[in-house]
């Protein structure tokens, strides 16, 4: 769709102009999130679920537990898989069909944060030789108004915190009976920054995303970075990255407070 790119140019000029004046188009600080709302337990069909809202962005995360075969190179570990759907109802520019590169990137960033932090003890998912529990995280993007990554990471973490573990009997899941929550380590959160011209902002809106030269997501647990993704054709300085890591650790505390 051609017109998107042309309108993006118009919006890009405007966003840059506003940022140069030290302001943001929506009247908030450069490192302020829009209003965040988290709601856990929104579905009863999944073992865990949560709806995350950042401003007008809405992402639903659902966690399903199953029984599967372990990967041959990790026979003692459970399986975790994260996928995302940029639903066509979320944006006029999302089309039905198999996941595109943006959708896959989104799922993989969220997956990497959770996996690297080892917040889920996958070894505890071992059942017997050749049988392990599997955990599926589905990220459903419902409403796209910018910064899908942070919203997805929040929804995923909240959904994991919401998980009610089903009873497993002779390698069969009994979904109607629960045996407590999922044991989790530290809470993973992600902060995504957009570099627009010379300015760097947290939690970009759709208009700001249209103007973004480079984007960086930094996922953290308290005191430690656990996943990073730089994307976009623009460049970042090492000194900028350094400062943004500090910012992520600081902002991470705010986000973690919401994850109860």
């Amino acid at each position: 769709m051609f017109i998107v790119e042309i309108l993006d140019e118009v919006k890009r000029d405007y966003v840059q102009e506003v940022l140069k004046k030290g302001k943001r188009p929506e009247e908030r600080g450069f490192f302020d999130y829009r209003e965040i709302a988290l709601k856990k337990g929104v579905l009863s069909s999944a073992e865990g679920s949560a709806l995350a809202r950042i401003g007008k962005t809405q992402v639903l995360a659902a966690v399903k537990i199953g029984v599967g075969t372990p990967f041959p190179d990790r026979p003692n570990e459970g399986i975790m898989s994260t996928s995302s759907e940029l639903l066509p109802l979320a944006s006029p520019y999302f089309e039905p069909g198999p996941p595109n590169e943006n959708s896959i990137e989104l799922a993989r960033i969220v997956d990497r944060g959770i996996r690297s932090s080892e917040t889920i003890d996958l070894e505890s998912f071992y059942l017997e030789e050749g049988k392990v529990m599997s955990l599926f995280i589905d990220l459903y993007v419902l409403d796209h108004s910018g910064n899908l990554i942070d919203a997805s990471a929040l929804a995923a973490m909240a959904a994991l915190l919401d998980v009610k573990m089903p009873r497993v009997e002779e390698c069969k899941i009994i979904r109607t009976e629960h045996v407590g929550s999922l044991k989790l380590g530290e809470k993973v959160v992600a902060c995504t920054f957009a570099k627009i011209g010379e300015a760097i902002v947290l939690d970009a809106s759709v208009d700001e995303e249209a103007a973004t030269d480079a984007r960086i997501t930094i996922a953290t647990v308290p005191e430690t970075v656990c996943a990073v993704q730089k994307s976009g054709r623009g460049a970042l300085k090492v000194s900028e990255i350094d400062a943004l890591i500090d910012k992520s650790l600081e902002k991470g505390k705010e986000l973690r407070k919401l994850l109860v």
Binding site: F2, I3, I6, L7, E9, V10, K11, D13, Y14, E17, V18, G22, K23, R24, P25, E26, E27, R28, G29, F30, F31, D32, A199, I200, K237, S239, E240, D242, A243, L244, D246, K247
Partner: protein
């Protein structure tokens, strides 16, 4: 005034826009405000449907030999003939133009193009445009006066804003969009502008200090 929904009976008057007649009964085709006295139905939602004489705000999307394809914020493209342009337009130009004709297969022809340089574009529901403009431009005049922005409103729901407090102007426009159907709008917008302008300076300082953080971080 009452809110009606598609299929709801609105008396037996014929030829009211956004209604249809079936078995002698007129029914609404949209969610709208129905004025029982005047027998008028105003739609509350919907995309832009181009009409003769509308002034719209468009973006030049394609430069062709005979003229320009213009995005006019709806399912149909506008066409601006080169013959009707005093100066050539460029790809990406934001223009205000008038609809000179719409035929039965919705070919939309434009005239009187006027290029709008710089500025910002926001989109609102086109059905709310009359409220945004107000009686004799009263509503939009109030925003212009308060924000010192230059504002142009297209019938197609596209609003172009340049200079002054563009952010406040945009927020005022969105407020009008959200509250257009509730009476007392003018007073509320006036109060909103006054309040926001009083708060404005404080927000500005907070943002500047954040901004300095980044600058500091970069060194």
């Amino acid at each position: 005034m009452k809110i009606v929904v598609p299929g709801e009976s609105v008396g037996d008057a014929k030829n009211i826009p956004s209604t249809y007649v079936e078995g002698g009964k007129a029914r609404a085709t949209v969610v709208g405000l129905f004025d029982e006295q005047e027998g008028r139905l105003v739609s509350l939602q919907g995309t832009y449907n181009p009409r003769f004489d509308d002034v719209i705000i468009g973006v030049v999307e394609e430069v062709k030999f005979a003229g320009y394809t213009v995005d006019v914020n709806c399912a149909y493209k506008g066409f601006m003939s080169s013959r009707d342009c005093r100066k050539p337009l460029r790809l990406g130009d934001v223009i205000a133009a008038k609809v000179s004709s719409v035929d039965e297969v919705k070919n939309v022809n434009l005239i009187e193009a006027f290029v709008l340089f710089g500025g910002h574009i926001i989109d609102i529901t086109p059905t709310k445009v009359p409220r945004l403009i107000g009686k004799k431009n009263s509503m939009i005049g109030m925003i212009v006066e308060a924000t010192k922005s230059e504002i142009r409103v297209g019938k197609n729901g596209r609003v172009w804003i340049r200079g002054g407090d563009t952010s406040l102007a945009a927020r005022a426009v969105f407020k009008i969009e959200a509250e257009a159907h509730v009476s007392g709008l003018t007073d509320r917008v006036q109060a909103f502008l006054k309040k926001e302008m009083a708060n404005g300076s404080v927000a500005g300082i907070a943002e500047l200090s954040e901004r300095n953080d980044v600058e500091g971080a970069r060194q």
